[in-house]
Amino acid sequence: MYTSLTNRRSFLKKMAVLSAMTAAATMFPGILFAEEQEEGLPKGNLDWKKAPCRFCGVGCGVLVGVENGKAVAVKGDPKSPVNKGLCCVKGYHSVMALYGKDRLTKPLVKKNGRYVETSMDEALDLIASKMKETINDYGKDAVSIYGSGQWTIPDGYVASKLFKGCIGTNNVEANARLCMASAVTGFMTSFGIDEPMGCYDDIDHADVFIMWGNNMAEMHPVLFSRLLDQRMRRGVKIIDFATRTTRTSMAADKSILFLPQTDLAVANAICYEIIANGWVHKEFVAKHCNINKGLTNIGYGLEDNFSFKDQPEKIDFEAYKKFLEDYTPEKVEKYSGVSAKDIKYLASFYGDPNKKVMSLWCMGMNQHTRGTWINNLVYNIHLLTGKISTPGNSPFSLTGQPSACGTVREVGTLTHKLPHGVVTNKEHREFAAKIWDVPVENIPAKPTYHTVEMFRALDRGDIRFMWIQVTNPMVTMPKLKRYRDGAKKEGRFIVVSDVYPTPTTDIADVILPSAMWIEREGMYGNSERRTQYFEQMVAPPGEAMSDTWQIVEVAKRMGYEKQFYYKKESHIEEIYTEYRKHHANKKHNMAPLAVLKENPGMQWPYVEGKPTKWRFNATYDPACSNNEAFHFYGKPDGKAVIWQRPYEPAPEEPDQEYPFWLNTGRVVEHWHTGSMTRRIPVLHKAMPHAYVELNPDDAERMQIKNGDKVRLTTRRGEIILPASIKQRGIPAPMQVFVPFFDESMLINDITLDSFCPISKEPDYKKCAVRVEKA
């Protein structure tokens, strides 16, 4: 909530309340002050308009109060089925992020080492001419665009159309590669189609919630408050399964800690228990599942140009059962740190036919060098027990960004993707080319660079031009120093579109000021397949322009007027209407724009005027066509896949020289790299800088106290941070945790750029580190 400075005293009073609410939210996950939030809103003739919140992947519906052309207040939208009128601390403060003092308002061009203001027309001319020049000199695969899960759907769509359809390069990537790619490949390998089969309504039906390495209390606080609400109403059980004690662990009924990477073994041990105890839903497995094994010892992507292709091979149930004999709870407890008793405890909920179980995960499973595998293994548990695609029985991967699903996964802003299907499929290329009105030959059949490799290519000089929109890779890339140095090399041209100066704008040759969130029109798609529309509510500052229109303008300047025919006053509607054509089928149909405008979002597949809540279940999903109760239609034979995937160690484990594990992540107060939330005074005051969390016993042994300077050293470099002991979270012994929101303490300078060979998503959760009192 934010109000204008018409009355300093009443403003300070609101600040005092907000500070207290923020402090309360960090102490009590899911705490609600909804009545006060409603009562405390500014009085007067505010014009309230609906929008999805832009500060995480939950997709809360908010109402933004506008007065005299300025957004002055936010409240939860009571009509939104996502958040039912609630907001978290970031949501309530969200409009303040529009009004930071140092908003970028003018295009800046670097000349002789200094940024010089220029007009938007001149900046766009320069970008178009540099792209053409780079293509002429180095070929079309020398230009690239790197976007974000905070791109709106139209932003991502025009980026893909320009680069893949018109220019003819698959150099399109987005930061969701760093957070959601393993979820995508998990879905694709297990079900042949992306995104969760269930929805948030599962929370109202499940009896048990198992959080797989997911600090939901801080990262998805409104959804977590729904879990707590169900516990008060129905006595549901919440179990936290993680490597570190967090706010989620403290609020859970039970916290189980495992050693990094061994979630793979524990998941297999749960499957072993399910089979050993006769809890397999035999009819479901026989009718609806295949069992596959893939390659093993698949590497970690540490070397440039690393490539991997899995070779799935069908196996029978007996072979799978035999494989699991290596994963008895007693064997796994020896290296996982999880007792056999706790493994059996977890398995008992999945195995109990009278308990509905929801598994929830986010970065812990996705940012993992075996991210695809651990996603597969959790699906295995649900498939073996038939606990899937029914209300309350739901393996559910949560997203981190407001449109990681809507833009990156559905529009397909990844090197291998098209809005419908993949670039390697001729029919999919033909389909896209027809809608885009380009020759099919324009779309290359081969993917180029995933995100890590794209920045490696920039360093090597294979890529010469990069346009970065709505993201801050010079804070988020792992092993950051290499990529920062690479981006600064001679002969690279970098364009950055953003709303504030960041370490990424520091490497730019051209900085474009972007219109943010409700300063333009657009749509986001959240974790439960819900597409939400928002209108332009206020004017952007100065010459700031939407990322969509920046790309359209450059496309026109490059000679693609025919494909970018959109009119400025109606381009969002025209783009969305064109985009819907890619998904016009029962498996993925998107709701028309008029429906999105009228409703607090709508879930796809939207068929015959209705959203689909549970996919693959014939009771709810009109795309099921096999005359059975379930139809996993993403696979040609209509069956889901149970994958045989082993435990394999992390690429870099603690040793004598680097004896601790380093884990990185987020905090509730800040949105990712903090470029927006650190400009909101209340949030900045609540969490002003990064820190390193230590286990209290380790700290005592090393004579480190709260606030003491601690040096962290990895094979990539070193960093000094203040110590945090028994404050926000508590790492297990010989582990440390550092949040990444603070650009003045860049933890990613020392992280490792290993990734899952299938998803290509880096693992920010595990590398070896030395810890010393500085």
């Binding site: 005293r9 009073k13 005092a16 309340v17 500070s19 705490i31 609600l32 002050f33 707590l228």
Partner: protein
């Protein structure tokens, strides 16, 4: 002219009582959490001494288990 916000923790089962007691204290606003045993208290006084007296009054409420300050602002009268 201090404006101070506090988090007030009631003794178990005494949340409603604490809300009522704080509401009677002049210069205090109380905002109870809906789903936790916690209250936000905002005080508005005309001087530091007055604020200290007010805090002592709050601390003396029998149902008050713990009162912790979160933020403080100094401002002139409108």
């Amino acid at each position: 002219m201090p404006i101070i916000s506090y988090l007030a923790h009631p003794y178990k089962g005494k949340k409603d009582n604490l809300v009522q007691e704080i509401s009677r204290v002049k210069g205090c606003e109380v905002i109870p959490a809906q789903n936790e045993e916690l209250l936000i208290v905002v005080t508005e006084t005309s001087s530091k001494q007055e604020e200290e007296i007010l805090k002592a009054k709050l601390d003396a409420i029998p149902s008050m288990k713990l009162l912790t300050m979160v933020s403080g602002f100094e401002t002139p009268i409108d």
